[in-house]
């Protein structure tokens, strides 16, 4: 049967759905808050039913009915196999190497996939202070596949972040090895409202692999403060089906905790 693509979806929704496509049913995923939470729960409700979530605050393999507010929302332990501790999740699963995918976000992401969630300006004298690492540094250091969902704005994509909170490839293909990190060549995938980029392990730099429907490479350049390489096999992100949009709105985020721009579900 031919797919019934929806023509009624927001950019946010497609970002979440596209990110979810990188998750397989056999993956163990550490959840973060925001759109990543939407993407992961969407994956679990559609193509990746076997997926197993862990959450930094200590929840191991919960069955989340809909998106929680934060990683410490009491709903995060819903029907979990174990409600444990932060050490059990970030230490005994993430650091131990038993988690396949981590979701991260931040104020800045640079051409090497480094993330800043600490501050803008001189770190000893910050002009703007953000929350800080949380579990992100540990996840970026130890997990072999990192997914990032973010708005594509110039200020968010500098050539070099002002503070590396969570390391990508640091300064090039061997940056992580030189720094002493055990996972030397992680996959890093960035899904924005303009495109999908991933790290080319041979250069240690982000490369545009797909464009969002209707977006041009020039638009990506105009909104990025470095010039990303462009894949010779450039693709276009597949739009969501009507069914996917329905699941996203009605089951994953019915209260519009994260999907702010899309219409409310009638109740």
């Amino acid at each position: 049967m031919e797919k019934q693509y929806s023509d009624n979806y927001t950019r946010e929704e497609l970002m979440a759905i596209e990110a979810s496509r990188f998750i397989k049913s056999t993956d163990t995923v550490i959840l973060g808050t925001g759109l990543p939470m939407v993407a992961a729960i969407f994956a679990q409700k559609t193509h990746a039913r076997g997926i197993n979530f862990v959450v930094e605050s200590g929840s191991i393999d919960p069955i989340l009915p809909s998106v929680p507010f934060t990683v410490a929302d009491p709903i995060i332990g819903y029907r979990a196999i174990k409600t444990g501790s932060l050490r059990e999740v970030l230490g005994c699963l993430v650091q131990r190497g038993l988690v396949d995918i981590g979701f991260l976000g931040g104020a800045e992401i640079d051409q090497f996939g480094n993330i800043n969630s600490t501050c803008i300006g001189d770190p000893q004298n910050p002009k703007v202070r953000f929350p800080g690492s949380g579990g992100a540094n540990c996840i970026a250091s130890c997990v072999p596949k990192i997914l990032i969902i973010t708005q594509h704005e110039k200020r968010r994509f500098p050539a070099k972040v002002q503070f590396i909170t969570s390391p990508g490839y640091i300064d090039g293909p061997d940056g992580r090895k030189k720094a002493g990190l055990k996972v030397t060549k992680p996959e890093i995938i960035v899904v924005t409202d303009l495109c999908v980029m991933d790290i080319d392990a041979s250069t240690g730099r982000l490369k545009v692999t797909k464009l969002m429907p209707g977006i041009t490479v020039d638009q990506v350049y105009q909104n990025t403060r470095f010039r990303p390489a462009v894949s010779e096999h450039m693709g276009v992100v597949e739009p969501p089906t009507e069914d996917e949009v329905r699941i996203l709105r009605e089951e994953v985020d019915p209260k519009r905790v994260y999907l702010k721009d899309c219409p409310k579900t009638p109740r």
Binding site: T33, G34, V55, E56, S57, G58, S59, F69, T70, V71, A72, D73, P74, I75, I76, G77, Y78, T83, G84, S85, L86, R87, L90, G91, V94, Q95, T118, C119, P123, Q124, N125, P126, K127, V128, R129, F130, P131, G132, S133, G134, G135, A136, N137, C138, S141, C142, F163, I164, T165, S166, P167, I170, G175, R176, K178, A179, G180, L181, K182, V257
Partner: protein, 308 residues
């Protein structure tokens, strides 16, 4: 003689803070984000004006922000300061930007590892994170030595990052259940608290209810932390409000949003919040009453029931 005691440790929040919290103390704080923050104990510390505090933990949220906003904190040493979906901890953010407070950044696993070293009585511990990040390149002026990188003695050519043990002077946590002598049961996610409590020189625990020691003796696998580490047990229903306590009540998004509005505005508006909701409430029960009392709490309890 060790400090371990099997005496009855039940006391009021006022007495516990008077006895165990002191000016200049390093205070471990439990709770994370919207869950089980030790808000009642934080209120008491603010009312007693304990100052020059260092706050340490993983995700420091509203209870940290209140103490920072009251001008009592000189340094935060943690994984993060924030309230997730509810936004920044604005007092924390502003105090750093205006250089009224130092921030010593680590990440969550490093902090919990430092507590793990503390609880086991060892001086430092290796972690796999932080290498290659700027977290290592900057430290607070007051920090003596943040980390050390050595060659792994057992694996040639590999580097190992060591971080120092952290043993807070006093930890404040809010839990579901404790008995009179300080056996503690944490339900739901435990965050960094088991390690934090055991690493601390003293711990004040507030709880939703005091249960019998016989309960622990009959269900000993339910003991999250035994009495050895606890110095004061404060019975305080809704002691984490406006954050949630799993099994008892959900968080109050309205009050947290109101707090955020005041904290973001700062100045007079924030002072008004503290005056009305902290200094203006003789007891934490008065604060709960002011926030909607039984009716509000019944509602939050029903929300929790729906989650379970």
């Amino acid at each position: 003689m060790s400090k371990v005691s099997k005496e009855v440790k039940v006391m009021s929040a006022q007495e516990a803070v008077e006895r165990f919290v002191f000016d200049g103390a390093i205070i471990g704080i439990g709770g994370q984000n919207v869950s089980r923050c030790a808000v009642a104990l934080a209120h008491e510390i603010i009312k007693q004006g304990k100052k020059d505090l260092t706050l340490t933990g993983c995700n420091l949220s509203i209870h940290m922000d209140l103490m920072v906003g009251a001008g009592l904190v000189k340094k935060c040493e943690s994984g993060l300061g924030g309230q997730g979906k509810f936004g920044a901890t604005f007092q924390f953010k502003r105090a750093i930007e205006e250089k009224r407070m130092e921030a010593e950044d680590y990440d969550h696993l490093t902090m919990v590892s430092r507590f793990l070293a503390g609880e086991m009585g060892i001086p430092f511990i290796p972690v796999r994170g932080l290498m290659g990040s700027d977290i290592l390149n900057y430290q607070a002026a007051s920090t003596k030595k943040k980390f050390e990188i050595i060659n792994d003695p057992w694996n040639q050519g590999e580097k190992v990052l060591l971080v120092p043990a952290m043993e807070p002077d006093v930890t404040i946590v809010h839990v579901q259940k404790a008995d009179e002598i300080g056996n503690v049961l944490i339900q739901g996610i435990a965050s960094h608290e088991p390690e934090l409590i055991r690493a601390s020189k003293t711990t004040i625990v507030s709880c939703e209810e005091i249960i019998s020691t016989q309960f622990f003796r009959s269900n000993s696998d339910y003991t999250t932390v035994p009495y050895h580490y606890i110095d004061a047990v404060v019975e305080q229903r809704f002691g984490a409000y406006p954050t949630a306590t799993y099994g008892y009540y959900s968080f109050d998004a309205d009050h947290i949003n109101y707090y955020q509005q005041c904290s973001r505005a700062g100045g007079e508006e924030y002072k008004k919040y503290l005056d009305e909701y902290v200094y203006g409430c003789e007891t934490f029960d008065d604060f709960i009453e002011k926030c909607g009392g039984v009716k509000k709490l019944n509602h939050l309890q029903r929300e929790m029931v729906r989650l379970m």
